[in-house]
Symmetry: C2
Subunit: 144 residues, 2 copies
Amino acid sequence: MQRKSLAGTGCPVAETLDVIGEWWTLLVVRDVFRGIRRFDALQESLGIARNILARRLRALVAAGILEKRPYAERPPRYEYRLTEKGRALFPVLVTLMSWGNAWALPAESRKVRLVDAETGRTVEPLLVDAATGTPLDPRKLRLA
Amino acid sequence: MQRKSLAGTGCPVAETLDVIGEWWTLLVVRDVFRGIRRFDALQESLGIARNILARRLRALVAAGILEKRPYAERPPRYEYRLTEKGRALFPVLVTLMSWGNAWALPAESRKVRLVDAETGRTVEPLLVDAATGTPLDPRKLRLA
DNA sequence: AAAGAGGGTTGCATGATGCAACTCTATGGG
DNA sequence: CCCATAGAGTTGCATCATGCAACCCTCTTT
């Protein structure tokens, strides 16, 4: 019995999870965002089994989220980089991080913040309506 | 070999995925957001195996994301509702939906949109810095 | 008395994960 | 020349998670 695919439903949430919803996948993407690009470094950073990491990287490359490119020949060595499609996952990681800071981490823990690389100022992410700049309220919205 | 827990790393993304990162979990939450609250309705809407749905609902209740409450006695019947912690997942679902619309669905498909329940106006979600209202740019941000 | 409806549970077969050991290419000593 | 090390995976095996279908239990309706 194959694990059921979520693709082909037409629901954008399901289609997305079909691509990045497997165990470890988003954490691999998170680490690549942090600048970790090589197999061994990812494996050590995540503590993931090597065969699973290999499978995830293959799938992410096949999905067009990561790109595998040589950074040395002789001996052949590869690194993984985000494509535009992969960088577009940034808002997903940010909202997951926000929720984790607010609801999953113990209250007294030092939260992970997002800071402007130039000014060092802390950035507080917020989801708004692009047209009006007002925050989204789930109770006042429907899907269509 | 138990599937490795992602908890206890201190990373808010990992802690979040440890709670909602399993197969089907976020789709259950999505359906509850859409107003589907009962076991059989969820099962039919998702096409998920009944034993797995039961397990996911138990876990979501244990995590404080859903609340199980009787909507009838004699015969005893239950429904699942979002808690505040669960409603806080809305931005996660919205960013997943946006990414799916942009990158996972075929270009010609009718996208799922977010509309204002009162005015019917289409809402375009955007992640900004709460302080300045400027969109977040992954290249100019660091984690700290 | 029989047939749903709602909300699950149980057993079984198969897939996905975790772990450790092993491979393969190439470079750097001694 | 021979061995050790590094990087990037692959292979085998054991165990967990998922999928499916059938079943259970409590009412209510016909």
